[in-house]
Symmetry: D2
């Protein structure tokens, strides 16, 4: 069985930039080695370069634009993200939604720069639509779980189960991540049992006084 994936989205939390980003990356590196889990970090754009160069962790961009290199001031292109050391990128996070045409364009740009792709979606229907496009991962963030404090281990996980089925139906290859409501080892275990390859999470690690302790708890029931 493939090792479970934990992808830490630092967002632009005050607790996720500067020295804290380094602390989180260091914790990810350490707990990944201890546990065998794959633990990636998605820092702010400006820290993709230093984090990639200082730690042995897979680094992801939080977003890329669907544009080719050119006159697009202030945009984020796949090629630059790759040059900075990223292994992959989130696309269409709930806080950075893209048009359907741009999701598809960003996906092609990412592939062209050899970046792994994680498309975020919000329900069963959009998960299936995203899966059709052929990304490496789809991460489902049910709006009712985002930042709710509700744990996926306790909430009715039916939406995750149905989204996995909907994704597989149109694309048997695609891997799915549980993208909200992840707080503990129980949650990660539930996520795996629901048929997802792992989790995309943010505040529970990023805002924790001790990120390594939270990560150890997450992998504790594997």
């Amino acid at each position: 069985m493939a090792p479970p994936i934990i992808l830490i989205n630092c967002k632009v939390y005050a607790e996720g930039i500067g020295p804290r980003a380094h602390e989180i990356a260091e914790a990810a590196e350490m707990v990944a080695e201890e546990s065998g889990a794959i633990i990636g970090v998605a820092p702010v754009f400006t820290e993709i370069h230093p984090i990639s160069h200082h730690y042995e962790v897979p680094v992801y961009a939080q977003h890329i634009d669907a544009v080719a290199p050119g006159a697009h001031t202030g945009h984020v292109i796949a090629a630059a993200v790759r040059l900075a050391g990223a292994r992959g990128t989130l696309i269409n996070h709930s806080e950075r939604r893209l048009t359907l045409a741009d999701i598809e364009g960003a996906l092609r740009a990412a592939r062209g720069s050899h970046l792994e792709t994680v498309i975020c979606t919000n329900n069963e229907a959009t998960t299936a639509a995203a899966a059709v496009l052929g990304p490496d991962y789809v991460a489902i963030e049910p709006p009712e779980l985002i930042g709710s404090g509700i744990s996926v281990a306790k909430a009715d996980p039916e939406i995750i189960r149905r989204s996995v089925a909907a994704a597989r139906k149109v694309n048997p290859e695609v891997k799915v991540l549980t993208g909200a409501g992840i707080q503990s080892g129980e949650c990660l275990k539930t996520a795996i049992e629901l048929g997802t390859a792992g989790v995309l999470l943010a505040s529970s690690v990023v805002k924790a006084p001790d990120p390594a302790a939270v990560l150890r708890d997450l992998v504790s029931l594997l």
Copy 2:
């Protein structure tokens, strides 16, 4: 066999508002009756009401937002469009792109107000993704044909054929429209032969000195 569909998008062309919108709607009504084709009109928002009330033509909104009734100043809701007399709506036109989440939200809002839905897409991949969402129609507008003056009857129509196949594969029920490069009866005939249910067009009718003549030419080879 179902009658072919011609959907005229008035955009916000100077030649498609005011008295000209009435002239176009009148031509649509007349040629539909003569030919048996279904000819719909998508006027500017402010003319959905008068056009719906003066002519026996199916009227479509050019766009709706994915919002429910509420505090959303300046937005377009399905319920209002329906109240004004529309039968359906375009969603995600290439000039009014929506996020994937909003395409799905607009689709649900439209269904809730009993509006037909036409999702516009730009290539094979996004056509399949849109088809998965379950609209009544997907209209393919290949960027290389939009406003190009290139006729789909003469261009390589492979992209249309592949998009129809991709849509059907994930949703056998969905109907497809050819959404660019339509200028003549030859084009409409080609569009039908490619497996699409009809066409979505704009300037060739809207900017024509005699819209009825263009429509008659369009249906001439059926």
Copy 3:
């Protein structure tokens, strides 16, 4: 002294479309005649035409885009809004923000179609910036008052006073509207005393069981 202005924004409230839009417009017409106040209505786009044609009230669009007539499907152009019977338009409402370049473009488009312009702003600095552009009105909607239930008559109105001063400093001609926190005759009186020409309001009239009664209360202390 100029009569005070009451501008009713119907937003896309369920209580502001269809027969309710007619009821609100009728109330506006009636109370304007009784009181001498100027009472305008900003219905949804699809109802600008019927409301303009059935009632003797100044009708405003809730938004226009900064585009010229052309290939801009699903957009709202000044010319169409004017043709439908509108006297003016809101620009940059807090629920429909525009870029600075588009605010200026929409303003020019509105002037070109002889529409009155009301630019909405959120604080002292943006009020001054908007005033520099030379609209007919700037409507200040302090975020802390929007939909808060806090009445401008009771809240510290210092932000309104300072915004009026900031606007006048760069453009002595511009008229200012108080754009949030308006519920009663006391509020309208306060708004006038603060140096604004009137008010822009929404839910207190639109969601009222008896819009005419609310409007009569609003003008009661003039």
Copy 4:
């Protein structure tokens, strides 16, 4: 007299990322030292950190968002840009337009993180509106000059002159940059004579085979 400012926007040109970004920064450092001009570089986000740490040049972000630290995945916050080593930031570039409220919000965020601010504008009216907000610089990019190959030294510079006057009228402190049509020493000289503090430019340096040679030509007539 203050030394003239040359601000190089690398956009996301293929010729402005990776080793090329280093080459451009090195050229900027060298020619600044030779000439006494202030030469800044605005690289892609992911290269703010390495460029700031390897070269003695003022580094600028190409864009920041108007959000505070928090749950805003894929956004760019002032605090992170500052941490990465930037001295300032562009705001509202023509390729990355912001709403008026967000321009003002980004400006406050930048000030809070001690970043210099350069608001980009497109004409006389928006230049005055931006100047009212109190940035350090306004950079005027007349659309008719952007990427046109037309040199400001040869074109009618009246729009620059009027924009400078309009900005000064509402904010005597603000410095203005000429933001388009800059190709040679003659252009920089013209820009200074028109009352601007310097220039914002992109392709003429970024796409040049020898960026240092172009920069030397730019400062040659000072």
